[in-house]
Point group: C2
Chain length 214, copies 2
């Protein structure tokens, strides 16, 4: 959680599925194959959720569901503001060797409004251009560096340009209305075997228990 990407991911995933418990989140994240890239193991989900709750970004409800106690989380108004802040920061973070925050933000793009996404991506593009220019400027003093470091710089340049090209295309499509973002009608539906789909019943029950408890 030192890195903000776990905060962002948990906060966003709770917003997608709330009210939701830790195990449901874990199942959903596994099904996205997020375990592959973000490094979420059971422990960090639970400790991350409780940290976010302590900070007032999530609210924890200790419900009794049948004979069983469950810790169910919902987002708070300040948590949703925090999500926007984190999302913006992540989408603008240009670091070739830590691409996780950016990819996490991309995965959670549908939680942001179109104008914010366009603005965030534009800002990222500007930063990438700065990076590329800096890199080109340093090209001249490459004799001061061992040859294998120069090979690394070449790779960075290549990866940078690849991302830039892709980003220009994405930006164009988002600006032209592609994808379904926050506040827009949702037509895309997950396949039936998606656990996020299957847990709809439990989440409904949680919502009722929370409402009754107020």
């Amino acid at each position: 959680m030192a890195a903000t990407e776990t905060r962002l991911l948990l906060l966003g995933t709770v917003m997608l599925f709330e009210p939701v418990n830790g195990y449901q989140l874990r199942r959903e994240l596994l099904s996205w194959q997020v375990e592959d890239w973000a490094h979420v193991n059971p422990g960090s989900i639970y400790s991350g959720l409780s940290t976010l709750a302590r900070q007032g970004n999530l609210e924890r409800h200790d419900l009794v569901d049948g004979s069983r106690e469950v810790a169910v989380y919902t987002s708070t108004a300040s948590g949703r503001r925090e999500f926007e802040r984190l999302w913006r920061a992540a989408v603008e973070s240009v670091d070739l060797l830590s691409p996780l925050p950016f990819h996490t933000a991309l995965a959670l793009m549908p939680l942001m409004a179109r104008a914010d996404v366009v603005q965030g991506l534009r800002s990222r593009l500007a930063r990438i251009d700065v990076r590329i220019r800096e890199q080109l400027a340093q090209e001249s003093q490459l004799e001061t560096v061992p040859p294998h470091v120069r090979a690394m710089a070449d790779l960075w340049m290549g990866l940078g340009s690849t991302e830039r090209e892709w980003l220009v295309d994405l930006l164009g499509r988002v600006a032209a209305g592609a994808f379904e973002l926050r506040g827009e009608p949702m037509t895309w539906q997950p396949p039936a075997q998606d656990p996020g789909w299957q847990m709809a019943g439990e989440r409904q029950r949680y919502a009722e228990l929370i409402a009754r408890h107020r």
Copy 2:
């Protein structure tokens, strides 16, 4: 240190400069601009060094240099074996979203013999090809996934091909004898303002103190 890249980096940097103290390492890593990519802050250098010493991969010498106590580290035989293991693992780790281990291994390439570097890079290439094939195979079932996730997959594909192309080139050059690797005559010299150069005197003194103490 959960991630192995800090272990690899510290072990390798000690091998480059031993005998060396924590502050000298920090200075050197800063001058490489390693702070930018690996996330080494003062604390993790010292705790990493002491962990490596506890495990028998480094030896710690508490020297008295002038009026001052200094903790100076040297590598052990088992530490050098551990370095080779970690290096191989890092160079073969294909994970688009955690490229740090690979780039750390690249930076430390001169500590490995040419045959090992060639073998490691070949093995990486094979793994990248597997990844790319898997990705292409999943292309068919892309309707089961929200559209923005497909855009992410496109980026991954692009980054993967960019790295592959670069890797083929690098492999060719290493196989053809480019770069100066372990056990080969060193002709390249760091510029005079490099701290690694400047600390030569202190390291000489440390070496004598250690020798006397045996």
